[in-house]
Amino acid sequence: MNRSMIDLWVGVFVAAGFAGLLFLALKVGNLATFSTSQTYQVEAKFANIGGLKVRGPVKSAGVVVGRVANIRFDTESYEAIVSMTVDLSYQFPRDTTAKILTSGILGEQYVGLEAGGDGVMLKQGDRIRLTQSAVVLENLISQFLFNKAAEGKDEKK
């Protein structure tokens, strides 16, 4: 095989390799969906974030509108501060509620945003005041048992 044929095949190979990488990045990964669009960052304080992870989705009405950017612990209030990057095309009122929810029974946890009625929109760096923590199964069970026990007492009287 002569030189120029070798060069041709190497060119085809390199092009195919980069096409493979591009396929992985665009079709398999999530490069196309988020990282290019402009975002703004908001924070929210939670008493308990449960199993929320960095890069977890932020959803409103089930639609992914952003990602969890950072989770840190506030030593003054002993609460978790979750920073979220939200797509700039999705604007939320200032009295929006942030909840930590679970998709399905065994699914991952995400931040759910529920829009309020305020006319002023959230800006870069704002903090969401109304939050609801993750449901901790142990607390739920102990609450349930406590209520049951209390009911039992009432019936005896």
């Binding site: 030189r3 070798i6 060069d7 095949w9 190497v10 085809v12 190979f13 390199v14 195919a16 390799g17 980069f18 493979g20 990488l21 396929f23 992985l24 990045a25 079709k27 398999v28 990964g29 999530n30 490069l31 969906t33 990282s35 992870k53 960095v54 890069r55 989705p57 992914v64 989770i71």
Partner: protein, 268 residues
């Protein structure tokens, strides 16, 4: 007395083996540094390297693509069996893509590359040495490392990440064929769950880094074993075997280290 003598000779042999192995590691490192410093010719006269990319990369394409396709198809079949028990068969795309992009793509492509291209590089350089072509070059004041070894090294280093990417892509296509076309998992869920779970930087880029590291390791071992081979028919055959064994072990050990560094860092 005889017992002491035999024990002593055994200990001596053990020490000898260890020392010679350590010596070889040192020699191989010196060889790599020399090789990198004399890569100018291989990069300036790029056609030398292109020919080796053809040799190591293009000729490995068939085995890489076919293996990738079948690995992806088997992953989809086996994964579906397990996932449907939990009613999570829609996550099949995630399973196939993550296992290929993170682990199987770089590792299996690296193992195939070591046995397909690495062994050939060792045999070629070893035979050049056995037939005294290397000595002839030195006689003509041509540096054999710059002229023969460096183009093969760079050809392998360039080819390996591309081959691993193609392996993963072929595997995901194979998983799609079996999962969506044959078993009937919903195509939308297959792709969208995959896209939601696979991160470009954390999963795909780390896989690419892995394949680059494997590429350097495999080609380094191959050219070194070839250059260091005893210049006889038996010596070359031994060197070729050593290339495949050492590079396979190196890939698996490096993969463990890289995985521990990349994917166990917690949330970040």
């Amino acid at each position: 007395m005889i017992g002491v003598e035999s024990l002593r000779s055994r200990l001596e042999r053990l020490g000898n083996t260890v020392t010679s192995q350590v010596w070889r590691v040192g020699y191989a490192s010196r060889f790599l540094v020399y090789l990198l410093m004399h890569s100018g010719t291989a990069l300036r006269r790029f056609r030398l390297t292109t020919a080796q990319v053809y040799f190591a990369g293009v000729l490995s394409l068939i085995i890489i693509l076919v293996s990738g396709l079948f690995v992806g198809m088997v992953l989809a079949l086996q994964g579906y069996e397990t996932l449907q028990r939990f009613g999570a068969s829609e996550s099949l795309g995630v399973l196939v893509a993550l296992s290929l992009v993170r682990e199987l793509g770089p590792v299996v492509a690296g193992l195939l590359f070591a046995s397909r291209a690495g062994s050939a590089i060792t045999a070629e350089i070893g035979l050049m040495k056995a037939t005294e072509q290397i000595s002839a070059m030195e006689m003509m004041a041509v540096d054999p490392i710059a002229r023969v070894v460096a183009p093969r090294f760079w050809g392998g280093v360039i080819s390996m990440p591309l081959l691993a990417a193609l392996f993963s892509a072929a595997g995901i296509f194979g998983g799609y064929l079996v999962g969506v076309q044959l078993i009937g998992v919903d195509a939308g869920a297959f792709w969208s769950q995959m896209q939601a779970a696979v991160d470009v930087r954390n999963d795909i880029w780390n896989g690419v880094i892995k394949s680059m590291v494997f590429g350097v390791a495999v080609t380094w071992i191959s050219v070194f074993e070839g250059y260091d081979a005893i210049p006889t028919a038996e010596g070359v055959s031994r060197a070729t075997t050593r290339t495949v064994v050492t590079s396979s072990l190196a890939i698996l050990a490096l993969d463990f280290i890289l995985t521990a560094l990349m994917f166990t860092g917690g949330n970040h």
